[in-house]
């Protein structure tokens, strides 16, 4: 019998992309999660911006630590009713000002782990916030998510 994967209980996976930095991807990901939660949905956020993880601060949990359970990493629960599940590399840094200075292969390994080893449980929406660019993080994230319920991508830009 195949083991139930950690993403089996997630109904829809949404990627938030841009290409350009600083246009509001993380801001939008956060607001989208909060709005969906407000509408009664079960929501999770996966922050795969390894070099500049902004989501923890935006949800005021930058000082949280993560724990492991039998099925993998336990997300940090945020939001007014502590019902939004969040996982970010930000939680794994010993000191918040530590730079994650990794080359592609190491980033890829962590992203794969993030995607498969977080115990999300049952979610209506998993929002995946990405860093700017079209590189390792993006390729690895899409590859890891493709076998699952990947709904699509939202692209964020500014006018110029």
């Amino acid at each position: 019998l195949a083991e139930r994967t950690n993403l089996a209980g997630v109904q829809h996976i949404l990627l938030v992309l841009s290409g350009k930095g600083g246009v509001g991807k993380s801001t939008l990901s956060t607001e989208l999660a909060l709005a969906l939660r407000n509408a009664g949905k079960r929501v999770g956020i996966l922050d795969v911006d390894l070099c500049g993880p902004s989501i923890p601060r935006m949800l005021r949990v930058q000082d949280s630590a993560v724990h492991q359970c039998d099925s993998g990493w336990v997300p940090v629960f945020v939001g007014q009713d502590k019902a939004i599940a969040l996982m970010s590399i930000g939680f794994l840094l010993e000191r918040p000002d530590d730079a994650v200075v990794w080359r592609g292969p190491k980033k890829n390994a962590l992203i794969k782990q993030f995607v498969t080893d977080v115990a999300w449980g049952d979610l209506d929406f998993l929002i995946v916030d990405t860093p700017p660019g079209t590189s390792d993080e993006h390729i690895s994230t899409v590859e890891a998510l493709r076998p699952h319920q990947l709904l699509g991508a939202i692209l964020v830009t500014t006018p110029q």
């Binding site: 930095g21 600083g22 500049g52 000002d97 080359r103 700017p132």
Partner: protein, 278 residues
């Protein structure tokens, strides 16, 4: 042997400045372009601008060089010249269409960066300015590694006033320290907006944790200056024109010019100290 090749190619470069951030969209490329224009205003100086943002190369558009191609000669790749004394190189020039996505993993990006440094015939250069993508990853590690064949005067780190940016910029400062890259200083972009009609100043990106000023104090790095928001900056960038030339009276232009001068002074001083040692 590779290191020797790089050293030979970069021997004629007097000063190298890296423009970094950690955070995206804070104005690295804008600043790099204006720094290049500012330094090249002195016609006796030869300036080179290298854009190693492989996924999102903004420099060709900002310098009005979209659609230009790179030519090869016996001595290597020729930079694309904006002025006689201002040459530019970017992956943007190698794309067949500006909308082509460059979806490369780290190792391939590193390869192109090395090629840029090894194969571009910059000639004699007074200032080599390197514009980088956001983050602290392959491109940043590689450029520091490859440029160790010559020497880097230092890094200019760009930020905007809000904590979400500073958070990433602190990491960048620590990255510089980790790889022993001297920090020339920090530039705070989008620092306030003065309405052209009523002259009222607003903080579009409020410095909720003290902005770059406080961060620089805490981390003991110089604050080179603050540049206010000016809608003309974005327009000039989109049109490939130098904002400094198009809006010479803007408070932002004054800020940029002061910052550029400080960078020049830093580089000159550095040079003098080196000559003393030699």
């Amino acid at each position: 042997a590779e290191a020797a090749e790089l050293r030979a190619r970069l021997r004629a470069v007097r000063h190298t400045v890296l423009v970094l951030s950690g955070k995206g969209g804070v104005g690295k490329s804008t600043f790099s372009a204006l720094l290049a224009h500012g330094l090249a205003a002195d016609e006796s100086k030869q300036v080179a601008l290298l854009d190693i943002d492989i996924c999102g190369p903004s420099i060709p558009k900002m310098m009005g060089l979209e659609g230009e191609q790179v030519h090869q000669s016996g001595s290597g790749w020729s930079p694309v010249y904006v002025e006689e004394n201002l040459g530019v190189m970017s992956v943007g020039f190698l794309l067949s269409s500006p909308d082509d996505a460059v979806i490369w993993r780290g190792p391939k990006k590193n390869g192109l960066i090395k090629q840029f440094l090894r194969d571009v015939d910059w000639g004699e250069v007074d200032y080599l300015i390197v514009d980088t993508p956001p983050g602290t990853s392959d491109e940043h590690l590689s450029i520091v590694q490859y440029l160790s064949a010559t020497h880097i005067d230092g890094a200019v780190i760009v930020t905007t006033p809000q904590e979400v940016s500073l958070q990433d910029v602190r990491k960048e400062i620590n990255f510089c320290r980790k790889v022993k890259l001297p920090i020339i200083g920090v530039v705070e972009n989008m620092s306030g907006f003065v309405c052209p009609k009523c002259k009222n100043e607003s903080q579009i990106f409020p410095p909720t944790t003290g902005g770059a000023e406080k961060m620089c104090q805490n981390m003991n790095v110089p604050l080179l200056g603050k540049v206010p928001l000016d809608p003309q900056i974005g327009k000039s960038c989109d049109r490939g024109q130098s904002f400094l030339a198009e809006a010479p009276e803007s408070p932002a232009t004054l800020s940029y010019r002061n910052i550029i001068q400080r960078i020049q002074e830093y580089c000159e001083q550095h040079h003098l100290q080196e000559e003393k040692i030699m």
